[in-house]
């Protein structure tokens, strides 16, 4: 069996399976490169939940608090994180994907399976033919194993690559969301006065805000632990 034939079939399958993600990750990469965006070394993706929640809260606190760019970043992040989660979920069980999807689509394996089915339907088989049939059944199982090993490697590589580029996109947009959010917050008199009355003064940012909120929070709750993890971005 020529391994190139197997690889081509697997690449073809993966290209179709990950088509939507490939388009999204390509757009994200192009967006970053074309606009010279900064790629943070820190992991800003952890801040998404914090930023989305506080963006909503600030809009409630100050009804005039509005920024078209922040709105776009918020919606964009919501979409990309949902897509990332969906892809992660649907591509988790490789064995199942191989058996339910790939086996039906692989020309080599479907032809082989069809030949086996056709053979079983032949009447009056001789003992030699029956031995031969047992042999090709074993060959079919072995061929499936070979296919699966190659499928697993290529599928995992593609999955890792696409998830990584989408994650990179989330990281970059979270970085800008964080910076822009506090830029706008510091321009809002209503919000800054609100915090100043609670003794949170000066130029506000995520780090300062988390240190302030977690100091008046009960420690070791889920929220407290989450905020402590967010702080690691700035350490």
């Amino acid at each position: 069996m020529d391994y190139k034939i197997i690889e081509d079939e697997v690449y073809q399958f993966c290209e179709e399976y990950f088509e939507d993600i490939a388009i999204l990750s390509g757009k994200n990469e192009a967006f970053t490169e074309d606009n010279g965006l900064y790629i943070p070394k820190e992991n800003y993706t952890i801040l998404v939940q914090f930023l989305q929640k506080n963006f909503k809260n600030f809009k409630i606190l100050d009804p005039t608090f509005y920024s078209d760019t922040l709105d776009k970043l918020s919606k964009d992040l919501l979409q990309i994180t949902q897509i990332h989660a969906e892809v992660l979920k649907r591509s988790q069980n490789i064995k199942e994907i191989f058996e339910s999807n790939f086996l039906r689509e692989s020309p080599t394996l479907t032809n082989f399976a069809k030949n086996i089915i056709d053979f079983t339907q032949l009447p009056d088989k001789t003992s030699d033919e029956l031995s031969y049939f047992k042999q090709i059944q074993k060959d079919y199982i072995k061929l499936q194993e070979i296919f699966f090993n190659i499928f697993e490697e290529i599928f995992n590589d593609d999955k890792k690559h696409y998830l990584s580029t989408i994650n990179n996109g989330i990281n970059i947009k979270s970085y800008y969301f964080d910076k822009l959010l506090w830029q706008e917050v510091n321009l809002s008199l209503t919000i800054t006065k609100h915090f100043s009355a609670r003794k949170l003064t000066g130029k506000l940012n995520t780090q300062k805000y988390i240190l302030f909120s977690s100091s008046i929070m009960r420690p070791y709750t889920q929220e407290y632990e989450y905020l402590q993890n967010c702080l690691k971005v700035f350490k």
């Binding site: 939507d20 388009i23 999204l24 757009k27 967006f31 606009n35 010279g36 965006l37 900064y38 070394k41 078209d68 760019t69 776009k72 919606k75 964009d76 979409q79 897509i83 800008y176 910076k179 822009l180 830029q183 350490k235």
Partner: protein, 178 residues
């Protein structure tokens, strides 16, 4: 799949302004680091352009008396250079040394990814330090600089080991001949 969000020129301009502001802050501290690079032993024989490519997150940090700069057992990536002031080095709460302006610390833990071997606290009324990290992921472009950095670090560690051995040897009491 949902429609992709479209960013306009005014949105991109906001992002680029953030880039400018961030690099503005860092460029001052980076300039200072490059100006004192000759005093930092692990940077010996590294070209300043390469150095600029392998360091990142360069910041000025100010500490007051007894502020903790580095804690024993922590896993951190920062290397520090003392611009002015004094720091004390403590091992398990015992003072084992003093660091002064012009000295650097934290290299081994940062580069080898090991836990901090000692605690460093501010021992003067005020101390100003530069903190920075080494970008080892830039290895494709800066492999020679990273290699020199590791070699310098190995040399420093070897020097410290020799000093320790010498000190230990002078404390050994020779056996009386029987």
């Amino acid at each position: 799949m949902n429609d992709t969000i479209e960013y306009f020129i005014e949105d991109i301009e906001k992002f680029l302004k953030i880039n400018e502001e961030s690099t503005g802050e860092e460029s001052l501290s980076l300039k200072k680091l490059l100006s004192v690079a000759d005093k930092i032993k692990i940077f010996k024989n590294i070209d300043l352009l390469d150095l600029r490519a392998i360091v990142y997150d360069v910041k000025f940090k100010r500490y007051k008396l007894k502020d903790y700069i580095v804690e024993q057992g922590q896993l951190k990536k920062e290397i520090y250079f003392i611009i002015d002031g004094e720091c004390q080095v403590l091992f398990n709460t015992t003072k084992i040394g003093t660091l002064r302006a012009g000295e650097a610390f934290g290299e081994a833990g940062a580069i080898f990814g090991t836990k901090r071997g000692a605690t460093v606290i501010c021992a003067s009324k005020q101390a100003t330090l530069l903190s920075f990290k080494i970008d080892e992921e830039n290895i494709d472009f800066c492999a020679p600089a990273i290699a020199t950095l590791y070699k310098n670090l190995a040399y420093e560690i070897n020097t410290k080991l020799n000093a320790l051995n010498t000190r230990a040897a002078t404390k050994i009491v020779p056996l009386h001949p029987s």
